[in-house]
């Protein structure tokens, strides 16, 4: 087990290295001269040349990459062009806000999706199963940015129950969490349904039922636990997908997280910050996949890793 954990963690390093290559190249495929982009449109040639010297842009690409990597290793992601603060500082100030939003949304979607999905599977082809399937197809089709706006229009403008945006109190969480989890609950529900259906007809479940165990024990101990692996996979995937979705949700709800910072940086062409945010979010995805893989080994003792 420990060997597997170490090996699995080790496998993430090439991936992280690959991600840094991509984030590095991201700012180098820019049309035109990156030094001029950093300096701004009205800068004189001398200023551009100074910046080229300062950022090492006159060196070859591999050299620039190693400088970038060396800085990253020291936790230095450069300086924001917009605010002149360090990128690390900017990101860390907002990262917890985004992480709490996404985690809460995925947790809500997971609880709801697993409960309804299990129910759907047990009452296979019942009216409620059909309704749940249909509702989930609707949910996955609603753009986050539209559901967000409609929720604001209803609950903030018309009913005046909840704040339209911003951050601070628990009430601020309700609308963004609702619209984000609406989007990802469908997939969790669908995977739960098909995976529970699959386990439901296995012999060990029939044995448990014929022993006369109460139904909820059969469902909880013998069915859901065995159906958990695909469910865990989809939860991990949804987490990653929402990390992209926060850009939209945070823009709609004026949420002070990485998503809104990213949009701010895109419009002010603040490439060091864009680079930093993309890197951080990709690392979170890699970490999520790692945790999912390790959780397999914990919940399923049958899994043997060579």
């Amino acid at each position: 087990m420990l060997g597997y954990v170490i090996k699995r963690i080790g496998l993430s390093f090439p991936l992280i290295l690959g991600v840094t290559v991509i984030t590095f190249l991201l700012t180098r495929v820019l049309p035109g001269d990156p030094a001029r982009t950093i300096a701004g449109v009205n800068a004189t040639n001398e200023v551009v040349e100074q910046i080229r010297q300062k950022f090492g842009l006159n060196q070859s690409l591999p050299v620039q990459y190693f400088v970038y990597l060396k800085d990253l290793f020291r936790g230095n992601m450069g300086v924001s062009i917009r605010s002149t603060k360090s990128v690390m500082q900017e990101i860390m100030a907002r990262f917890p806000n985004s992480l709490s939003l996404v985690t809460l949304s995925v947790a809500c979607a997971a609880v709801f999706g697993i409960v309804v999905g299990t129910f759907s599977a047990i009452h296979h082809y019942s009216v409620l199963d059909h309704i749940a399937t249909l509702v989930s197809l609707f949910g996955v089709s609603i753009p986050i940015f539209w559901s967000g706006l409609m929720l604001i229009s209803l609950f903030s403008v018309t009913l005046r129950w909840l704040p339209a945006g911003g951050f601070g109190t628990p009430a601020h969480f309700i609308l963004p969490v609702f619209s984000l989890s609406l989007y990802c609950v469908a997939n969790i529900m669908r995977v739960t349904r098909s995976s529970v259906l699959d386990v439901l007809h296995r012999p060990h479940v029939q044995v448990a039922e014929s022993k006369g165990l109460p139904q909820w024990i059969v469902i909880y101990k013998h069915v859901v636990r065995n159906a958990l692996m695909p469910i865990l996979t989809i939860i991990g995937l949804q987490f990653g997908s929402l990390l992209g979705g926060i850009v939209l949700a945070e823009t709609v709800f004026a949420w002070p997280g990485l998503g809104s910072l990213l949009m701010l940086s895109v419009f002010s062409r603040d490439y060091p910050v864009i680079q930093g945010i993309v890197l951080i979010l990709a690392m979170v995805v890699i970490a999520t996949n790692l945790v999912t893989d390790l959780a397999y080994a914990v919940i399923d003792p049958r899994v043997v890793y060579a």
């Binding site: 090439p14 495929v29 820019l30 996955v140 089709s141 986050i144 940015f145 539209w146 403008v157 864009i274």
Partner: protein, 277 residues
């Protein structure tokens, strides 16, 4: 043969038919939209700014007095071009790579698989958005960026499917008979991976539309004054307090179209893969 059976199953699925109907409507509107629009979608008339639905402008007008319905009808075409274009692009790049990885295995597979894993480390919408940040805004760039974000999923899916099919006896016999790799891929692999590609592509149409509309909403897609659903929604956002119809209708159009693709994709999945519960 396969397709006749698919059609038979699909005909029985009400959900699938509704989805197909919505998609046909969407395609029809994007072809005929500019012809049936009552007003010029670009015509600015400040005297009619932010009007509610009326007999002349059924869905009301936007801040510049432009007819929302006409803009919606004309905005279908860019959305359609992006989602078909992006899915087509993802397919053209992803499917051959996936087939090569799954069929040739070994080092080729390692390289292709690593590429897919690397791209999958980025949340897909974030990948598309950061590509736009690098290459610039505009509809063509949205198509490219969203297309690239679908590539790793195609690779992974097609690779796994090819991997399984390449183990089948009929493939082994063809190898034994001395058939060339190209011959085997064309005769045995491709026909068998088409069903999963069709299902995934249908679902991807909805997803790419969603991403493209999201980028448009953020102001990174179509630029003013061109009508595009996501951009219209983004422009309506500022008037959510006074004129919610500005965001209601474009969003509804996006939602219904994505729903069409998801309903059809769901039904196709059932029809093409009857063993999956």
């Amino acid at each position: 043969m396969l397709w006749r059976n698919v059609w038979k199953t699909l005909k029985k699925s009400r959900i699938g038919l509704v989805g197909l109907g919505l998609i046909l409507l969407f395609v029809l509107i994007s072809i005929l939209g500019p012809l049936i629009a009552l007003h010029d979608p670009l015509k600015i008339n400040l005297a009619y700014s932010l009007e509610g639905p009326s007999r002349d402008a059924w869905l009301g007008t936007d801040v510049l007095g432009r007819d929302i319905l006409s803009r919606l009808l004309c905005g279908a075409r860019p959305s359609l071009l992006i989602c078909f274009g992006a899915v087509g692009f993802g397919m053209i790049i992803g499917v051959p790579l996936g087939v090569c990885g799954g069929y040739f295995r070994g080092k080729v597979d390692l390289v292709i698989r690593s590429l897919a894993d690397l791209l999958l480390a980025f949340p897909p919408f974030l990948l598309a958005l950061s590509l736009i940040a690098a290459i610039g805004v505009g509809l063509n760039n949205v198509l490219l960026a969203v297309g690239i974000s679908t590539v790793p999923v195609y690779i992974r899916l097609v690779r796994a499917e090819t991997f399984t099919i390449a183990e089948e006896d009929y493939v082994t016999s063809s190898v034994a008979l001395g058939r060339s790799n190209t011959g085997i891929i064309i005769a045995h692999i491709l026909p068998n991976i088409i069903p999963v590609i069709v299902v995934q592509s249908t679902l991807f149409m909805g997803i790419t539309l969603l991403y493209a509309a999201g980028l448009g909403f953020l102001g990174l897609g179509a630029q003013q004054p061109q009508p595009e659903w996501g951009a219209m929604l983004g422009a309506g956002r500022n008037y959510i307090f006074s004129a919610p119809q500005l965001s209601l209708f474009p969003g509804l159009a996006i939602f219904v179209t994505i729903l069409g693709f998801n309903l059809l994709g769901d039904a196709l999945r059932d029809a093409l893969d009857p063993y999956q519960t």
